[in-house]
Subunit: 145 residues, 2 copies
DNA sequence: ATTCATGCAAAAACTTTGCATGTAA
DNA sequence: TTACATGCAAAGTTTTTGCATGAAT
């Protein structure tokens, strides 16, 4: 299996785009963090390693990474766009505590299978999906109020 | 069962906020349209009925409607925030064609039940959820390219 | 009478774009 | 060498906020 770095290099080559130090750095930073970064947080982290990098490069690279299938966008319903690496990782969904923000990654074959089936019933070829479960975690429910 | 208008009025009263013609108009417009409006589209529609209404009032009212549970935000992964009335409607998820944008509302008890179960397994009390299935519809797959 | 809501315009937040320069292939 | 990428700053978008005026309770 190709590494994410290889996937990205191939993706860029296919489109006659170039593998640059900035693009590598941004991908590495995302992979190292392993998930849930907003563009701004990512920019801050990347900037620690390369003072001269520009905000625009981060946005441009996020777009490319998204198109290449290496990352996907998340919507935790708090108004912040986040990205998470998705290549090589098994797909998963998110279980989010609305009070404390705790975020648990979940995977369930019953649901995954049923999604395929539902899409097929409507004549759709399923490409991907997103599922978010919002609730209150144990601890938050124990706390008064 | 209370009407959405009553729910909103009660919600506002609870918080010592006021029921204004603008707020009523915005809610009515959303309900009449029955779904999937961006703030800008909503503003345009509302403006047809009340020339003098301001953009800011639409945003402020959308926030209140969201807090009151009457509407929810949708994420069709196209960068546009949309809202849809959710009160009184049976909950549903969305099946979206990535090529033509066709959007089918779906509901499935197998998935709904399993979601509850999954949340419980992780100690969560499930409050709500969102599920989006992205794929290609029949027609789009038949078209060449 | 109070307190909140509104419209407007300004500001803030977020993202994209144009351009001159730099660099990967 | 050529074509693409970068950083910067400017410009777009989208959403929020401050304020004087107006309206609901």
């Amino acid at each position: 299996m190709k590494t994410p770095q290889e996937v990205f290099a191939d993706f860029l080559a296919d489109r006659n785009l170039k593998t640059t130090p900035q693009r590598r750095l941004i991908l590495d930073t995302l992979l190292k963090q392993n998930g849930h970064l907003s563009p701004e947080e990512l920019y801050a982290k990347v900037k620690k390693r390369d003072k001269s990098i520009g905000q625009a490069t981060v946005y441009r690279t996020l777009k490319l990474l998204n198109e290449s299938g290496l990352i996907e966008t998340l919507d935790f319903a708090d108004g912040v766009t986040r990205y998470e690496p998705s290549y090589g990782e098994e797909h998963h969904d998110h279980l989010i505590c609305e009070r404390c923000g705790k975020n648990i990654e979940i995977l369930d074959t019953v649901i995954e299978n049923r999604q395929e089936q539902l899409a097929a019933e409507h004549g759709f070829a399923l490409l991907r999906h997103k599922m978010y479960l919002y609730g209150l975690c144990d601890e938050c429910r124990k706390k008064k109020q």
